[in-house]
């Protein structure tokens, strides 16, 4: 499977995709790159300010600002790690962490769809819309994580260890 198929398959064909990811086709770098790209595109204005800060107040001040910016994806990273630990615990697969990271893709898809929608509407999402997007993203990711768990447990032991 190629990158686009691995990512899209989580949404379009989760059972088949997780079966193949669990058999060793998962690539941890897929999700790492998606998180980095999401951070850069989502926090672009703060990155730009950090560059301005570096010019005016030095690298140390900018580095501190960069650390603060990086915390924007901290909940996502913590959730992925927690999902990986639980998947490892219940499936005993050596690919559990790699596979669990793909369960974050539905959450990303909802956030992207919301960002595009509100960009088209030319206004920022209100608190209710933000909560709804969060809830939908988390629920979909949880559902996909359960599919991943079922598929990993279904795989023969030699495929996962």
């Amino acid at each position: 499977m190629k990158l686009d198929e691995r990512i899209g398959g989580v949404l379009a064909a989760p059972r088949r995709t997780f079966a193949r990811l669990g058999a060793g086709e998962a690539r941890p770098s897929d999700i790492a790159w998606l998180i980095v790209f999401r951070l850069v595109s989502g926090e672009l204005d703060r990155f730009a300010r950090a560059i301005g800060t570096a010019r005016e107040w030095g690298i140390g001040a900018a580095a501190q600002e960069m650390l603060v910016i990086a915390t924007a994806v901290l909940p996502d990273v913590v959730a992925i790690l927690a999902a990986g630990m639980l998947l490892q615990l219940f499936s005993r697969s050596k690919h559990a962490f790699d596979v669990a990271a793909y369960a974050w893709v539905p959450y990303l898809a909802v956030q992207l769809a919301g960002a595009l929608l509100f960009s088209a509407l030319r206004h920022s999402p209100g608190p209710h819309a933000q909560t709804a997007m969060q809830a939908l993203g988390v629920a979909w990711a949880l559902g996909v994580w359960i599919v991943a768990l079922v598929e990993l447990r279904r795989l023969p032991a030699e495929a996962t260890s």
Partner: protein, 193 residues
């Protein structure tokens, strides 16, 4: 959405099936790129590569109620240096830094110093500020910020100290926890340029 579309070449005479997974994946990658491009477009010409608080620029005027006393207005302090220490009661590093800031504020009351230190509570909750001030033994002026001061100085992390010279221009920016000595040195440097 159906599952199980094969990825290999279709048998001869059969219409090629669309690989939905690949197209969904491409749509996600495209959406990421489009959002990135939209952000770049919206940020064009906003001057974000220049910080809101460049050294030597006129410090934005800020005003707000004091925890004890009336109101504070930065523009009324023109003629002597001012150190604005941005903090919040829930912030651990701020609570560690503030006793030292308090000692600096007390030391500055004596001649020949002219500078003043103002703690700007970015949370703006009077009860929480009173509780923290009592626990930390703070007597320096504490301004309750409704968000406008933090926004004007683009405070993205606390503690953060902005030192303003006697002409009302930004002279120094101290990010993160600052030691008592470092704060005093920075203020004295502005008092005696």
């Amino acid at each position: 959405m159906s599952e199980g579309q094969p990825t290999g070449a279709p048998p001869t005479g059969e219409r090629p099936r669309v690989n939905v997974s690949r197209w969904v994946g491409r749509a996600i990658l495209l959406a990421l790129f489009v959002i990135f491009a939209l952000r770049v477009w919206s940020l064009r010409g906003q001057g974000l590569l220049h910080p809101a608080t460049p050294r030597g620029s006129l410090a934005p005027d800020v005003a707000g109620p004091l925890l004890v006393g009336d109101r504070f207005r930065l523009s009324a302090e023109r003629g002597h240096p001012v150190a604005l220490v941005f903090w919040a009661p829930w912030c651990g590093p701020c609570r560690a830094e503030l006793p030292g800031v308090e000692r600096v504020a007390q030391a500055l009351k004596a001649s020949p110093h002219t500078a003043r230190v103002i703690a700007v509570d970015t949370e703006g909750d009077r009860d929480n500020a009173l509780e923290a001030a009592a626990k930390l033994g703070l007597t320096l002026p504490i301004m309750l910020d409704d968000g406008r001061a933090s926004s004007a100085y683009q405070v993205t992390m606390i503690p953060q100290t902005v030192i303003i010279d006697r002409d009302g221009r930004i002279a120094q920016l101290l990010r993160g926890g600052t030691s008592e000595d470092a704060l005093m040195r920075a203020i004295e440097k502005v008092e005696n340029p």
